[in-house]
Symmetry: C2
Subunit: 239 residues, 2 copies
Amino acid sequence: DLRGQLLADRVLHPGSLRDTPIRAVLLTNGDIDHIAGLLTLREKQTFRLLATADIHAVLDANPIFTALDAELVVREVIALNTPFALTDGLQAELFAVPGKVPLFLEGEQVDTELEGEQTVAVEICQDDHRLIYAPGCARLNHALRARLEGADAVFFDGTLYRDDEMITAGLGHKTGKRMGHMSIDGADGSLALLRNIPIGRRIYIHINNSNPIWRDGPERRTVESAGFEIGFDGMEIEL
Amino acid sequence: DLRGQLLADRVLHPGSLRDTPIRAVLLTNGDIDHIAGLLTLREKQTFRLLATADIHAVLDANPIFTALDAELVVREVIALNTPFALTDGLQAELFAVPGKVPLFLEGEQVDTELEGEQTVAVEICQDDHRLIYAPGCARLNHALRARLEGADAVFFDGTLYRDDEMITAGLGHKTGKRMGHMSIDGADGSLALLRNIPIGRRIYIHINNSNPIWRDGPERRTVESAGFEIGFDGMEIEL
């Protein structure tokens, strides 16, 4: 079987059995799709684990993450709006964007446009190049607009195309707004708002499997003809 | 890209977007390799979640697992040595095997041959067919031997081939025994002990990526020529 063969190939190169090229993990959210991947990095690799205090608190509340050996994985608290060194030559800065607490921590009342340490975006700079990574965003406010202006690249929340698509597809009863995500479509959607901001490359990420831009069709053509790109696993960009 | 295409194919069949054929999940251990997969079953699917009280306690101690909606995923506590209905026609029974607590819950002192609710095996019966599934086992004791005798199939702990292979491969400082796993090789290994017990099919599972049976070589030939099988993802058996 294929998996056995792949593992066999790795056994032939023992040095690679527990190695990853990952030197730092920066969390921008405490929800499962952002943090569960940490559990596959538990095999004694060394890396920096960077997040806001609120997102670290989510990990701290779940003993399963102590599988990340504290001697190898150093947890560093990053303050909002304060530049820090991500790796050699890369400066980064976290800032709040409207969003909500992780689904599994929701109480009876949910503020879907909370601005704090739970949902953040990151600005990464090197020399005169600058990119913004914002996988979750409930609303494009003035502060975010100011950050986006003139960026060489923006990776932006592409969860849903239409605010009601989960409902019309019979997948749930929640709108995108209820989930803390602004949608691509519509007068207040990200496509209309981002295309009027001067940005080098606009790339949708965090795309739900209900989103029709995954398939060839009018929605994908609308996005692509507006000059937006659709992110994919293993994507590499050069600025 | 391939992932985009796969997702697009699923979008064309909306009924399949949140569906799985899984009707019940039975946990035999609370360690990460046994429980982390639950996090990918959080999209509002209905299934029974069966485990001992101690293993349920591991889930309860980690709020991340509340992502499994309690209205859809019913958690059922299973007592040791007490038959229960797994699905239509399948009877099951959990029993303790020597093992240890999950790595991420280890204290200063670790009993590696603990017998309780933390490491269990399951016997599954239908009509006159019977199989045993034991993915972790530190020692083959009399009670386990009695269970194995005459089984149509036994899925057994194949973590390591040699007790010291993690050390010699430079992957860590722990023996198999320290990790709560008896190895395949040696006079007290599972190959020597299981081959002398009357069992229909002997199938190694839970095989670490340091285990040389993944590749063609003397260890794999030793296992196969003794009539043992090597499990693989997607394996199906008929008894």
